[in-house]
C-alpha cells in the first residue's frame, strides 16, 4: 500500500467529516494522521474482528481531540461502517468529539490530557506480568506535555524499563493559544525524556517512511521505553492551514472546504 497517498485520502475524509458536522480539531488531526496511518496500516497487530484478543497491540490516543483522524482510519479499516460517521457529534451519537471505548477499535476513553501515557504504562505492565509480546502505543500532543501526570508516567515507564511501550509526541510546536515555546516551553524535549530513562528518537513526523523506521527501531530497543518525537506541521496537507494556531479547531467554510479538498487530492495524486 502507498501509505503516503493513503494519508491524503484520510485527510480528505477528515476534512469532509468536520465540514459536515461543523465541529472538530482539524489542525491536530492533520499533524497526527501520518503517525496513526503508519501505526494502523503497517505497525500494529490489530484487526476489527480481534479487539478482544489478549495478544493484540494496544493503542491509546492521549491527544483525544484528534479523534476525527482516528475515526477516519478505523472506519476505513472496517472497525465500523463508514456510514456511522454520519452521526459524528450529532444528538445521541456515540461518535463524540473524543475517543469513546464503546466504539469498536477504541481501548480507552480519553480527552482530558495527560492520561494516555500512564494508562498505557498499565497496559505495558500487564503485558510484562503476563509475559506477552504485544506492544503498547500512545500518542500525545506537545501542548499536553505541560500536564504533570505526563511526567509521573515518564518516571514510571523508565523505572519499570517498559521496552514494550512506545510513546509518540506530535511535536507540531503549536497549541490552542499559540506557540508551545511561548506558552510553556518543552525544549530540550529530547533531553527531558532521556533523563527519565527513555530511548529517544527525533524524526520528521509527517514522513511515513521516517515514522515506519522509527517504530522498527523502537521494537529493537531493549530495557527502555521509547519516545518518538515526531516533528510535525500542524494542519499539514492544506497549505493555508499549516502552522496556524487558529486552525486548532476552526471549521472550514464551503469555499475553504473546496480548496482544501482540491489541494489534498493533488497531493494524493502526486504521491502515487
Amino acid at each position: 500500500m502507498n501509505l503516503k497517498a493513503k494519508t491524503f485520502e484520510l485527510r480528505k475524509d477528515v476534512l469532509t467529516l468536520i465540514h459536515r458536522a461543523r465541529t472538530g480539531h482539524i489542525g491536530g488531526d492533520f499533524s497526527v494522521i501520518d503517525i496513526l496511518t503508519v501505526l494502523y496500516y503497517k505497525q500494529m497487530n490489530i484487526s476489527p474482528e480481534k479487539m478482544d484478543h489478549p495478544d493484540r497491540d494496544r493503542f491509546v490516543l492521549s491527544k483525544g481531540h484528534s479523534v476525527e483522524a482516528l475515526y477516519a482510519i478505523l472506519s476505513d479499516l472496517g472497525f465500523f461502517p463508514k456510514s456511522e460517521l454520519d452521526n459524528y457529534s450529532q444528538y445521541g451519537s456515540k461518535y463524540i468529539g473524543h475517543p469513546n471505548n464503546k466504539i469498536n477499535g477504541i481501548e480507552m476513553n480519553s480527552g482530558s490530557l495527560g492520561h494516555g501515557l500512564p494508562v498505557s504504562i498499565g497496559m505495558a505492565l500487564a503485558g510484562k506480568l503476563d509475559q506477552k509480546d504485544y506492544r503498547v502505543y500512545t500518542v500525545m500532543g506537545d501542548g499536553e506535555l505541560a500536564e504533570g501526570s505526563v511526567w509521573e508516567g515518564a518516571m514510571a515507564a523508565g523505572h519499570y524499563r517498559l521496552d514494550n511501550l512506545c510513546a509518540v509526541v506530535d511535536r507540531n510546536r503549536l497549541q490552542i493559544s499559540g506557540g508551545t515555546e511561548t506558552v510553556m516551553a518543552h525544549d530540550p524535549l529530547e533531553l527531558r525524556f532521556a533523563s527519565f530513562g527513555w530511548n529517544v528518537l527525533s524524526i520528521p513526523g509527517n514522513d511515513v517512511d521516517a515514522l515506519n523506521d522509527a517504530f522498527d527501531l523502537a521494537r529493537r530497543a531493549k530495557g527502555k521505553p521509547t519516545v518518538i518525537i515526531a516533528n510535525t506541521t500542524k494542519g499539514c496537507g492544506v497549505s493555508f492551514m499549516e502552522n496556524q494556531a487558529g486552525w486548532h479547531h476552526r471549521v472550514p467554510t464551503d469555499e475553504e472546504y473546496q480548496k482544501g479538498m482540491e489541494e489534498l487530492e493533488q497531493r494524493r495524486l502526486a504521491a502515487l
Partner: protein, 313 residues
C-alpha cells in the same frame, strides 16, 4: 477491644485469593505500610505494583492494567486518592469502565492532628457524584471482609473508604449479616431512624441504646453501600419513624446525609437532621477528640435525637 483495622482485613482477603488468582494486582503509592499491605507485597511481589507518591499515576496505571484483564485494588490515603486523582478516577476508571477498586485508607479524620491536608471529609461527595462509581464505607473488619470478597466477583469500578485505626466490631466473626448493596438493619424502632456509615455506625448504635433506656426506640441502619444507596431499606425505616438522623465522618454537604434528605423529601417527607463535620477546618485532635467535639459520639447523637424529637412534637 478489636486490634485489627479494616485496612488489614482488606489485605488478608486479598492474600487469601491472590495465590489462586494471578489476575489480582494490588497497587500502592508510597503506602504499602500505612495500607497494611506490606505482607501482601512480600508474599506476592509479582502481583504488586508501586508508583511512589504519584496518585494520578496510581489510578491511571491501575486502569491500564485493568483494561488488560487485571483485577486491580489501588490503595492510597483517601485524602489524596479522592482529590488529587479524582479526575483519573472519573475518566480512566468510571468513564472507561475499568475493573479497579480504589481503596481510600486513613479516611475521614483518621490522621487527627495532621490537619486538613490529611482529612478526607469530602470523598463521599466527590466520588459519589461520578457516574458509574460506587462508594462503600464498611463499618467493621468483618463487613470489610465480606465486601472485598464480593467485589472480587464483579468487574465494576468502586471506591472504598476505611479508617486508620481499629474499630470495635459491629458484627461477630461467625455471624455477619451481609447482602450486597443492601443496608444492614441493626435494630428496629418506632420513634427514630438513624442511618450511619463507616466508623459512625458504632456511635449510632450506642445512641440507640441510650435512647432505648429512655423509652425512645430507633431503627439503626448500617448504610455501608452509600452508592448505590439502598433506597428500599431506608424508605421502609423512614416510613415508620417520626424523624431521621444521619451520621457520617464527612461534611454534611453531598454525603450520606444529603442523600437521605433528598430521598425523604421526595418520597416520604420527615424531619431529617444531618450530623457530620462542619463546612470549615476541622478542630485539631485525635479522631476520638474530633468526634466528641462535633457530637459524633453516642451521647452527642442521642442529644441531637432528643432535641429533634422535642422540636417536632
Amino acid at each position: 477491644m478489636n486490634k485489627i483495622p479494616n485496612r488489614q482485613a482488606i489485605c488478608e482477603v486479598l492474600m487469601e485469593h491472590a495465590a489462586a488468582d494471578k489476575d489480582i494486582i494490588v497497587m500502592c503509592s508510597d503506602s504499602r505500610g500505612s495500607a497494611s499491605l506490606a505482607p501482601y507485597a512480600a508474599a506476592f511481589p509479582e502481583q504488586f505494583v508501586e508508583t511512589g507518591i504519584a496518585e494520578q499515576n496510581l489510578v491511571s496505571i491501575a486502569a491500564g492494567l485493568a483494561s488488560c484483564g487485571k483485577k486491580v485494588f489501588a490503595a492510597s490515603p483517601a485524602c489524596f486518592l479522592a482529590s488529587r486523582s479524582l479526575e483519573q478516577s472519573k475518566v480512566d476508571v468510571a468513564y472507561s469502565h475499568t475493573n479497579v477498586t480504589l481503596i481510600g485508607i486513613s479516611g475521614g479524620v483518621s490522621y487527627g492532628a495532621l490537619g486538613m491536608t490529611h482529612h478526607s471529609a469530602q470523598d463521599i461527595a466527590a466520588m459519589a457524584s461520578i457516574p458509574n462509581m460506587r462508594v462503600y464505607l464498611p463499618s467493621d473488619r468483618h463487613q470489610t471482609r465480606k465486601l472485598i470478597e464480593t467485589l472480587l466477583l464483579d468487574t465494576d469500578p468502586a471506591y472504598i473508604r476505611v479508617g486508620r485505626n481499629p474499630v470495635e466490631d459491629i458484627y461477630m466473626e461467625d455471624n455477619v449479616p451481609f447482602a450486597f448493596n443492601k443496608a444492614t438493619v441493626l435494630s428496629e424502632g418506632e420513634d427514630l431512624t438513624i442511618i450511619a456509615c463507616g466508623e459512625m455506625v458504632r456511635p449510632a448504635l450506642e445512641a440507640s441504646n441510650l435512647l432505648a433506656g429512655e423509652g425512645i426506640t430507633c431503627s439503626v441502619l448500617d448504610m455501608y453501600c452509600v452508592k448505590p444507596f439502598d433506597t428500599e431499606t431506608a424508605l421502609a425505616a423512614i416510613r415508620k419513624s417520626k424523624a431521621v438522623i444521619t451520621v457520617e465522618e464527612h461534611t454534611t454537604i453531598g454525603g450520606l446525609g444529603a442523600m437521605v434528605s433528598q430521598l425523604a423529601a421526595s418520597r416520604c417527607p420527615k424531619f431529617v437532621r444531618n450530623l457530620g463535620l462542619p463546612d470549615e477546618p476541622v478542630v485539631t485532635g485525635t479522631s476520638a477528640q474530633v468526634f466528641a467535639h462535633y457530637g459524633l459520639i453516642g451521647e452527642g447523637i442521642a442529644a441531637s435525637a432528643r432535641d429533634l424529637l422535642k422540636k417536632i412534637s
